[in-house]
């Protein structure tokens, strides 16, 4: 079910790495088995199966209302599970109240206690455990050192910047050495500039500590930068799960292809099905798409072909190939620094997006606004999507 649209040659190896919506094995560190959550008449989460390995950094990615936060809250114990089971390190924690779970969460708005100093905030969890006072002090200091906040120990949260609060929140959720760390939109409250720096910093700290981590985010860049694997959620279901690169390169549906990054989508019908290629007839292009890697789908089937903007080449001269190119006019150029995004309107009316690296822009034969250009792509750059 999951791997349709994948190129045949990579199915075997990818399938082993994916393994997502299959029921988890009993040796998996975190097992989310058939978990569903119903709020009255609406299903927030519908039958989710996930397996997460020890020390893995896993991202749940989706737009708001897709159920990712509800799933995270069920892992923390704030929401009860309507059906299904959650197993952590061999122990069923489905019905364990939040204060007895070896799970800690870093909240989206950090939820630092405003009436306590940084030090007391971090010590709070250890105090509940009844850890001895001198050990508390050592561990709090170590945790604050880890996030480079030791010199702010006496401050109140409202005297700290957003980035500093985020570090304190991280220290507070790590100090108890949880088996599972939950990050709820960990960086969404930060400015864009500091966010990118913090993403890498956060991954470094998490790797240093060696903690299994599930994060929720709506920011695909954040998920791709930080996570070992990610699951794309939509409407309470996991649509695709895999390493960021696999999900980006081999989306399994129209939804994932357009949700992760931007893409050029061609709706069409398979008109030719040969062992080494297929052809897709589409009204968006004057000639059929020639796709070289094998996709075995019946003739006449309605499919979509997705080609990423960076796979498109823009040239002023007509390409030598007989297939996989189209003539059009440059209607918009967005300069983004590292690359430029061209919008090319074809004769069919379809507007293609092509990403051109800045290095190419400096060449003499670079296309500019209003030019008649040829957009071309390699036969193996299109992904065929059935769903």
């Amino acid at each position: 079910m999951l791997h349709e649209g994948l190129p045949i040659m990579s199915v075997q190896s990818e399938a082993e790495r994916f393994g997502a919506s299959f029921p988890p094995h009993s040796e998996d560190f975190v097992q989310i088995i058939d978990v569903a959550k119903q709020f009255g008449d609406t299903a927030a989460v519908r039958q989710v199966n996930l397996a997460i390995q020890r020390n893995e950094l896993f991202a749940l990615l989706g737009s708001s209302g897709c159920g990712k936060s509800t799933l995270l809250r069920m892992l923390a114990g704030f929401e009860s599970v309507t059906s299904g089971r959650i197993v952590l390190d061999g122990n069923d924690i489905t019905d364990v109240p939040p204060h007895r779970r070896p799970v800690n969460m870093m909240f989206q708005s950090y939820a630092l206690f405003p009436h306590m100093s940084v030090e007391k905030n971090v010590a709070f969890g250890l105090k509940q455990e009844g850890v001895a006072a001198n050990e508390i002090q050592d561990r709090v200091f170590a945790a604050l050192e880890l996030v480079q906040m030791a010199q702010f120990a006496r401050r109140r949260p409202n005297q700290l910047s957003g980035g500093q609060q985020q570090r304190v929140a991280l220290a507070r959720s790590l100090v108890k050495r949880p088996k599972l760390l939950l990050l709820d939109e960990p960086l969404s409250a930060l400015d864009k500039q500091i966010r990118q720096k913090t993403q890498i910093e956060l991954v470094r700290i998490l790797e240093q500590v060696g903690v299994t981590c599930i994060m929720v985010t709506h920011d695909q860049e954040e998920a791709m930068t930080m996570a070992d694997r990610m699951a794309v959620m939509s409407d309470g279901l996991i649509v695709q799960c895999g390493a960021p690169r696999d999900v980006y390169e081999y989306p399994n549906s129209r939804f994932v292809a357009s949700f992760i990054g931007s893409t050029n989508m061609f709706e069409g019908i398979i008109v030719e099905d040969e062992p080494d290629h297929i052809s897709v007839q589409t009204s968006d292009l004057p000639q059929p798409l020639f796709i070289s890697h094998g996709v075995s789908e019946p003739l006449g089937m309605q499919v979509a072909a997705s080609i990423r903007p960076e796979r498109m080449t823009v040239s002023l001269t007509r390409p030598p190939a007989t297939v996989n190119w189209a003539r059009g006019e440059v209607v918009h150029v967005a300069y983004l620094g590292s690359h430029a995004l061209y919008q090319v309107r074809l004769e069919t009316g379809k507007v293609l997006e092509a990403s051109v690296s800045s290095m190419m822009l400096t060449r003499d034969d670079a296309a500019s606004m209003g030019d008649e250009v040829f957009v071309s792509w390699a036969p193996d750059s299109a992904i065929v999507l059935r769903d």
């Binding site: 704030f78 709070f124 969890g125």
Partner: protein, 299 residues
């Protein structure tokens, strides 16, 4: 952030005028009048006090009489009355805290639909006059009243409990009348509390009770203080409830004021009693205000 030194546009400066005007007209000027009367001498006539300043043959004669104040501090009755009023107010405030906190907490944590209904229940008594409600308490607490009848019918007591015209009746009346003033500001604090802070506490291993003690309680402190002020301050000077429910020996400033004013027609004395009471109340209020400003500045 301090706004004091920043530029205030004319319209905003103008907007501050009405409240100041109101305070000057309806608080400061009347209070100065009371201060003036408290320093005058007593006389029979209209008005029943001597003028403070008199112009006689080009000589301005200013007569300040401290008789009222001297009496206040030398007559043990007044000192005892003040102390008793403070004691009654303190106990009433404490009782309101103990009873009101759980009520405010439950209302704040209930579902939004139910919440409005419960709030209405708290405010509803205000729709009838306080006097009527206090009379109703007389009917309940009297020796042959509702409460004693019920208790005797249940077989819990043989002879009626003597509550009416005792200090206990005064406390019951005061707590009943002022409880909403404690609940409402506390509720306003509790309802806007960030529930994620509680979740964070649970998440870090705090049992529900520990989370309440170490997070909810300290964060609702200002609500408790505001409610306590709203109960304590009017209770000190309360007249109606001690008069109707209390016994002859229930000493409260309000009753003393009434006696001085209407029975003895000693306006200067009544005014002095009032001035000292205001001072007595201003001190805790100023402390609270100071504390609030400091907390705001910390933010």
């Amino acid at each position: 952030m301090k706004l004091s030194r920043s530029f205030l546009p004319p319209a905003r400066a103008l907007a501050i005028v009405p409240p100041y005007l109101w305070l000057v007209l309806f608080f400061l000027l009347p209070f100065l009048l009371v201060v003036k009367i408290s320093l005058s001498g007593m006389q029979f006539g209209v008005p029943p006090y001597t003028p403070l300043a008199e112009l006689e043959e080009g000589v301005l004669r200013l007569t300040l009489q401290a008789r009222g104040y001297i009496m206040l501090f030398t007559d043990n009755l007044y000192v005892a009355t003040y102390l008793n009023s403070l004691k009654v107010a303190a106990i009433t405030t404490l009782a309101c805290m103990v009873i009101g906190y759980p009520i405010a907490y439950c209302i704040a944590r209930s579902a939004p639909g139910v919440r409005n209904l419960l709030l209405l229940g708290v405010i509803l008594p205000f729709w009838t006059s306080l006097l009527l409600r206090v009379y109703a308490w007389i009917g309940i607490l009297r020796n042959d009243g509702l409460l004693n009848h019920a208790l005797m019918w249940l077989g819990l007591i043989d002879t009626p409990l003597e509550i009416y015209r005792t200090d206990l009746a005064v406390y019951i009346g005061l707590v009943y009348a002022y409880l909403p003033f404690f609940i409402l500001p506390l509720y306003a604090h509790l309802v806007k509390m960030d529930m994620r802070l509680l979740e964070a506490a649970y998440d870090l291993g705090a049992r529900p009770w520990r989370a309440f003690v170490s997070v909810t309680l300290p964060l609702s402190r200002n609500g408790v203080i505001a409610g306590a002020m709203l109960v304590f301050i009017p209770t000190v000077g309360e007249y109606v409830i001690p008069e109707l429910l209390g016994g002859a020996n229930t000493l409260m400033i309000g009753r003393v004021m009434w006696t001085e004013f209407f029975n003895n027609t000693d306006w200067p004395m009544a005014a002095a009693v009032t001035c000292v009471m205001v001072l007595l109340l201003l001190v805790p209020l100023a402390l609270f205000q100071h504390n609030q400003v400091r907390q705001l500045e910390q933010r």
